[in-house]
Amino acid sequence: MINNYSVEFKHASLIYDLYYDKTNTLKEYMVNLVHRRKYVDVGKDKLYALKDINLKINHGERLGIIGLNGSGKSTMLKLIAGLLKPSQGDLEVAGNVQPLIEIGAGFNLEFSGRENIYLNGAMLGFNKKQIKEKEKEIIEFTELEKFIDVPVKYYSSGMSLRLAFTIATIIRPEILVMDEMLSAGDLEFMQKAKERMDQILTTAKILIIVSHDMGLIRSLARRVIVLQKGEILFDGDTEDAIEFYSNMVSDKIEKKEELKKQEEQKELEQQKALTKGGESKRQEELHRQEELSRRIVVKKVWIKNSNKDIEVIMPEDALIFNVEFETNIDFAQFYINLVITDKTGVMVAHFRNDYSEIELKDFKKDSYSIKIHVLSVPFKSSKYKYYFRLVGIKDNEEIISDTKPIEFNILGNKKQHILIKHEWEIVKNNKDTVISK
């Protein structure tokens, strides 16, 4: 047995040959032959799913891979799992690898649950004796005792999910490769499933996980790489990598929004040019919206930092979020929301008047100014956005007015996702000496 497991990419590339799709029938192949054209020359488009990857994953490492869709994350997992081979360069894997990629792919619907346990077990590389040992455990865990000899095609989706999850997790590989978290069945089973997953995760010597769930990446990985178009853009500490990635994503979102705005502008101009006389339906719609938005008019939105300027906000600073607005009709009920998101738009905090047990009933037409005093913003150093959402209810109709998201920076806390005030105390028990306090 080796006890130094590792995975090493050496200038590895994976190329999808797009021209493969061009010659799909015998006829075309023959025609190409007759014309003395080598069929591989039909349009030589190459797509690098992974480009010149150099990466060493050492014994004991927990590696997370993040990136946008199509950046090559899953391809990387498939390479490590041996489902694909690099087209160029080398990949060395020391240790037995098992992928935990998309469960439930491998059922033969005509076979019974038990038969599928045996067939799938064998496909995972177990021999008959080993599967027999696990059989009982699997059936017990899935709670499918009554149905285990019924063909899988009669199973409910929850039942087959449970079976698939349990079979997929009988493996105890040294190198575990995982694509997204496995979800399985009802709440009670999910609890069980989570425990089982944790067991596998802790026994694996090397864990490589792909996920869009940053919480999961945070909890499982200590090192994270960011992939973009088949290349490693960042390789390092988890928090730094997530920061890098969310910067990348927010840049992309901004660019997209700008483009969208430009397009909308263009469209509007075209519309105007087309319909000089009567109003088009779209314009009518716009008109109506304008009419609606006039019922709640936001005047001003700003933050006040109690002691310092607004440019640099420290986690311990007390802030006042302000909004001034006018209502032009009477509302039966009114809600004021303050939402703080990170730069990718994921909500990190949400305040609402009724959460603080303030009811705003019979909200009369008037001008208002709202202050929300926040005692601290214990978030990680990064860019954040905040906006107000004003919701008025009249005759069972909701009128919503969102303020434009405004960016602000929090500085100071580099490591902790959310900084809760705390102190450490580490004591050596036998000598009663304090190491740190």
Binding site: Y20, N24, L84, I101, E102, G106, Y118, L119, M123
Partner: protein
């Protein structure tokens, strides 16, 4: 090549479980169960055979044994070959998600048909003896050899067809048509000696003829098949098996992109 075969051997339980469950499932829900798989193809061939017998008016003392032995060995070959184009395509879900040597999927198909074949063969032997149509002789001992040669021939052929079908999907439609023609080009319903010499020559170009012959002769005529025919079969088998394995090795990592 050795590596691929070794890996395949490591995954032999996949084949074992697949064949076992498939057979069980195939016979699970019918009363006559296994009997049907013996009866159905035989009755079918019996009908065609009898029609042929009266149309062609050929003289054969032991026609019923000739017919059953021929169709039995022909059917296993044709069953495997007709299903071969979809081997990789049907297992796409597995190939993309879990590492199992691709040869395993080929062996799944071939093994299932072979086990089925052997079960039918044994029941036919029993029936034949019971009805006094068969008399055992030492030549029967050659049957395992013929069957073994045929199995390797089928593995090679199935690999080649399955890999080609991934690249040229037309194969799925072409292969059954070709096999339909082969059925009449193989002397199964009629004796080859009944045909004009010209057509006999044509039929001797059909490789399946030799595989049928080395299986049927020991049963029908109670003597060994001609040495030449055995050698032809072995040559074709070696050729198909090794080119199949080499083809699979060459395209092993590329198939997944084409599925």
């Amino acid at each position: 090549m050795v590596e691929e075969l070794k890996e395949t051997f490591r995954f032999r339980y996949v084949v074992y479980n697949f064949v076992y469950s498939s057979l069980k499932q195939r016979y699970r829900r019918s009363v006559l169960g296994f009997m049907w798989s013996v009866l159905a193809p035989l009755m079918q061939n019996l009908i065609i055979g009898v029609v042929f017998y009266y149309l062609m008016k050929f003289n054969m003392p032991n026609y019923i044994v000739y017919l059953f032995a021929g169709t039995l060995i022909y059917n296993i070959m044709s069953n495997v070959i007709i299903q071969s184009p979809t081997i990789m395509i049907n297992n796409e879900g597995f190939i993309k998600k879990i590492y199992v040597p691709k040869l395993v999927y080929v062996l799944n198909l071939v093994s299932l048909e072979v086990v089925n074949f052997i079960l039918i063969l044994l029941s036919l032997l029993i029936l034949g003896v019971a009805f006094g149509k068969l008399s055992f002789s030492l030549s029967y001992l050659f049957l395992p050899v013929s069957i073994l040669i045929t199995i390797f021939f089928l593995i090679g052929t199935a690999i080649i067809i399955s890999v080609l079908s991934v690249y040229f999907r037309d194969m799925i439609h072409i292969v059954p048509v070709v096999m339909q023609a082969m059925f009449f080009l193989t002397p199964v319903l009629y004796p080859i000696s009944n045909l004009p010499l010209k057509i006999q020559k044509l039929i001797k170009l059909n490789p399946l003829y030799y595989f049928v012959d080395i299986f049927r002769t020991p049963v029908l005529d109670n003597h060994l098949p001609s040495f030449l025919h055995v050698m032809i079969c072995i040559t074709i088998t070696v050729l198909m098996f090794f080119s199949g394995i080499l083809l699979l090795e060459k395209y092993n990592n590329k198939i997944v992109f084409k599925l």
